[in-house]
Amino acid sequence: MSLQTDTAEASASYDGLNELIDLLISELGIPTHLKGFKYFSLAINIVYADPGAIRNVITGLYRRIADIYSTSVSCVERDMRTALKMAISSGRLTLFDEYFVCALSNRSVIPPRRFIAILSERLRCQLISVQASNGNSR
């Protein structure tokens, strides 16, 4: 199965999942013009659809993203890390503190892998509780 069908299935499971992810990342302060923004968006999409993808990021997740955007794995990782660094140095740290409790205890850079994992888990939690409350109201 190719990645395009994977992400298509992921976005089909919830209307506007891509837009939601983009909104979340840009609210955290990652500049939208960076390449890392696109990579993060795609990575969270993949991990949301398949939680096991977070296990081997270098040969699995980053490799797939690099194939899609025709770059190398190290470029993907570096762009993500740079985007995250800019977000931490200039973004809204209150929101960061709320999302990444332990990660920012010493105001350092967190690995992109942890960022992707925590955001996809948060997203899944929120979406399921939203769906449950909609079901109850009906």
Partner: protein, 128 residues
Amino acid sequence: MKKEIFYSVDTPLGIRVTDILLRLGISASSYGYEYLRCAIILAYHDPELTVYATKTLYPTVTRLCHAASVGSVERNCRRAVERAIYAGTRTLYEYFGNITPTHHPTCAKFILTIAEHLHKQDMQSQNE
């Protein structure tokens, strides 16, 4: 069937456990996070499992989460708890357990504390 009930995140209990673990600062990319979530859901249903955690709880988690060995489950959980407590979420843990830990808690104690907190929440919501 049983496995799906325990391990699934999509249940209301799974969401509550996930929320607590993330608020405590346990990183979602670690193995310990998965194992702790599974163990807390198991301990919520049967608190007696944590009495002999090494013999009963960890083997069950090993089977459900397809972990390598019982030792790896214990080690990953312990590391995750350690990291979360040292990163400064000690006050939150005190709130959950109503205790002041002098050192970082053992893995089984952590699991039981969160499970008891969930039971307490259930009691409160029933009284209301």
